[in-house]
Symmetry: D2
Subunit: 345 residues, 4 copies
């Protein structure tokens, strides 16, 4: 079988590094180019020491067109705002692109309001929002906008009830590991500030909220504003993982069994969503660590459902989901190379 050639633009950060880790286990794809402006010329393993002995590439910095010509698919793992400078050049060639930044997840106008900067490459409707459980049309796309980590966990926790039109109000209270903030040391990531602590932040203003509203609104257009969809993120002392507690106020009373059945039906053919039975215990971060799974469990009472979802923010919340999209775009089985066991304990 011919191996698929992959380019990673922006390979020095956590999501770039995680793309390499996951692709090393992929049976049909190989990493051909890893770029970094800052680190060009260095061995990849000088920076990502844990990959020593597994990969023998150097960081490079070729022009996008050259990368596009050499690769069947390119991941852009660059900061928000930088992807839109690169992707038009990539799309001029035949290559496909999965963008891990926020640049193409939202309509240009919403992007500009949310991120406070001009969008120089608006192509509304052209990029697929790459949450494969809701958007299988990624298989036809040339450009997929990989979702944010929080939206992935939040949307999957509420989608079946949103689709059924049952949600009056959704409050997402998320607890995230710190790797979502990246590899650069900061006051938030400083061990004495994070260990043995919990910290809420950007309570009503987090930039991931518009993605959540957009996707839930597509399922139920009564959820299309921020007046009944709330999102509060927290950081907890963990490297990886996001646990989202979705407090869903419903339009009528319900009971756990029926709702659970609806979730199982909704995710029947979605291999990465594991709906936990009652009695199986609720999702937690350890059960998904290092894997592409999204675990979901729930409890109902009166007109309220509490749904818990757990993902690894760097895998299902970023690089794993990007490869899931890659599989779809290239006609491979969705699970190809991605059924990696979680690392637990």
């Amino acid at each position: 079988m011919t191996m698929i050639d992959i380019g990673i633009i922006g390979g020095s950060g956590y999501t770039g590094c995680e793309l390499i880790r996951l692709l090393l286990q992929h049976p049909c794809a190989r990493v051909r180019i890893v770029t970094s402006r800052r680190l060009s010329g260095n061995r990849v393993t000088n920076i990502h020491r844990h990959l020593s002995g597994l990969i023998d590439l150097h960081f490079e910095n070729p022009p996008p067109s050259e990368i596009a010509d050499a690769c069947d698919l390119v991941f852009t793992a660059v900061p928000h705002g930088a992807a839109m400078d690169i992707i038009p050049a990539l799309l001029k060639s035949d290559t496909r692109v999965v963008d891990l930044s926020a640049d193409y997840r939202l309509p240009a106008q919403v992007f500009e309001e949310t991120y406070g900067r001009v969008h120089t490459d608006p192509r509304d409707g052209d990029a697929v929002f790459g949450l494969p459980e809701l958007h299988p049309e990624a298989s036809e796309a040339r450009l997929v906008a990989n979702p944010g980590c929080y939206p992935t966990g939040a949307i999957l926790s509420a989608a079946p009830l949103a689709k059924a039109g049952m949600i009056r109000c959704a409050i997402f209270d998320s607890k995230s590991g710190i790797s979502g903030a990246g590899g650069e040391p900061s006051n938030t990531s400083h061990y004495p500030n994070l260990a043995e602590n919990v910290q809420a932040y950007n309570i009503t203003t987090h930039r991931h909220l518009p993605e959540i509203v957009q996707e839930l609104g597509r399922l139920d257009n009564s959820l299309n504003s921020v007046s009944n969809v709330y999102f509060t993120p927290h950081v907890v002392p963990a490297i990886r993982g996001i646990l989202t507690t979705a407090h869903l106020i419903l339009r009528e009373e319900c009971e756990s069994g029926a709702i659970l059945d609806a979730y199982k039906e909704f995710y029947r053919d979605k291999p990465f969503v594991r709906v936990r039975e009652e009695g199986d215990g609720l999702p937690n971060l350890a059960d998904v660590r290092g894997s592409n799974f999204c675990d979901i469990g729930l409890v109902c009472g009166g007109n309220r459902a509490v749904v818990i979802s757990a993902i690894d923010n760097l895998v299902k919340g970023a690089s794993g989901q990007a490869i899931q999209n890659m599989n779809l775009m290239l006609g491979l089985p969705e699970t190809c190379g991605l059924l990696i066991s979680p690392l637990s304990p």
Copy 2:
């Protein structure tokens, strides 16, 4: 000055131990008796090794009447259900009692429904619910029922808005350190299960919910059922502390400044509640670790307020608050011996 003699019934667990730690710094009180049925005869410091060199008592096991005679005030730090077997005997003498168990926090009937056992000493209305910020009448009480840890953080986060009749629906999402589960090893407290993890539990059924409903209902009787007051606890990788995120749906729109002023006014003379200004950052566990403070911060938007409270579950959530009640009951300044600096970093 004459020192006040203190008895601690049940001194082997975390709350008993924390009572000792705090009373060792108290200028007017001294621990005279520490009991433990199981450990009677052992040095206190054989079990609480960190107190070596600071206290020279042995665990004892005298009858309650003897303890009552010897002590001006007795703390009962025994499991739920055990306190009601001891306290009637204590109250026959002149001593005062602060009970850290759940036995006297709720009306007997609610207690029986919640804890699934018969109450053998119902004295509804006789015990003061010992949240001093709401119940200064502890100063007149002979028996104070010290609140649960979660209720302390939850009630204080919502009380000003409840008092103002502004809350339509209150959703408390709490993140707790594991010491609240006590000193006995369990699957939940097993390091590989808790570290790098977050775990929701007892989502709709936690036994602390009736305390929250009772106290908020006293402030606003439209909040007197469980249909608009929800509580979801989680454990996070921390030894101490509870961060409560109160998602409050309000009856009308509001803005942060006005609500913040209302909180500052409500807690004006409450030395242990520190209301954080906008721009001061939100409360977190490190800022209250080891101390009796409850920090509160908030953000409003539309008809929603998100209020964050942080306490040390073993201090303001248990033993520190018990001593705060003791100070009130004995006519001492409320802060006497309790203005201990948090341990941060």
Copy 3:
């Protein structure tokens, strides 16, 4: 290709679970039987929840002979003392056995002194000590005794200098994650006791010391007693990993470059030992987490070398090394299915 059938006797604990995780990624082997006396009849994924969707077996409890007949190779992951009751029956058939317990690592007499129990199946010299970097003869063995986790890291850190006869005295100071103590909650694994703490234990008496002495003594018989080989274990707040700091007092002065060259030469064809260059930084737990690598780095000064080794105690220190032995015993490439990327961050 025909898949190799694997049996796991004792699949409920951490090492059994890790064998399953790793074999799920192995291209030539499949788990056919997983036993547990206690859990027989339960789904494997009811206990190892993180493996849901990846394995569809139930715990069984057949007699050893039946397992041996059905499997090409059997792993015994049972407590010390229990393996010797099972293995004779297994070896009556054609199957091969990798024993993860301590039962066959030491001569029967040393075992009896160390573990304080009678050895009922002494077969000295018959079982290969399964540290493949030192004992490639595992490829010819029917029974391999998989080393202890501490000995794996300690022996590999000192072997090149021991082989060269340069060590006068070796002091191994090891820092271990808590998963080495197993899945049962204990005072040591209780989160409030372990988090933010470090604890030395069994300072001069740990049962892994005789393994270290045995193997270093095979390389240099002046190291064959406990008078110049010392071992001090500690637990640190980590789930996985052992960092061993080997303080080696040498017979003569040396300098880092030459010693480093000797290490690189010694481990030239050993794919799982990664010798870190000067300037590359020292080994740490994150670089090997979840993988079968043993990273080694060192600094010399005067007549002293400080050598640091890092392993994942559940992989290179247990189940990964067991599969490495399996590969050798079955004529597969040593790295088959084992070149798994570490999970970092």
Copy 4:
């Protein structure tokens, strides 16, 4: 009683902050001035949020002479090299000085070799090395050089055996919490790099080694070089605390009981050193957290002693010890205000 007026030069970092925390509990001293060049004009509690409600000072930046005139004693908690620019001016007045930097701990020549900079205020023999258990002459000093955190734990672990001339070779393997590296975020303190990890650093070259050699050499001049005193520091996932494992090779065989008696005798009148009996368990970080204690325990075997010491690096390893020196210098009881209970769990 007249309160003693205290100045803190450099109050923005961890040691300055910890001085404030501890002095707030001190019955005879009050903080009068806290300086910070960078933060001058800000409230102290804007930076040290956890102290809100406890202190009402602003950071200032007056000239040293002014501070000296206003204060009975000044702590200098500034970076190495900066203290020597300030202290001469302070000593011109009557005030006493405890310097928490390294500037006066070593003879000027050793300082220059170790820190790679010129000493502009050499006053060898003039400053007392402020380890009160070995240097009670601090009571006569005008300038005390507060020891480094690692040296405090290492020296106290070996002093009794050094004094007895029994040590042939001392290997200190220390495990430190990260707060010793200060409040500035760095790669080392970045949570994903430190959590679940252990990291050795500066293996043979740490700048604290000369302090250890100097003090042990004063007790036994055969220990006055670096050829038989070794020091290897590690960081572990903890905010506070240093556990030092002293591997001591002795001149003759010994047994635990006799050595333990020698330690108890040596530290008989030293209220902050707690020698743990056999059977009491070994020292650990939790037992000393937040306190000024140094716990010591040991096990002997053959001609080797393994001695474990535990301190809180910010208290006994820095600010607490500085106040212990202050007490001595001002004629107060050594323990005045310092017998604070450790925070455990």
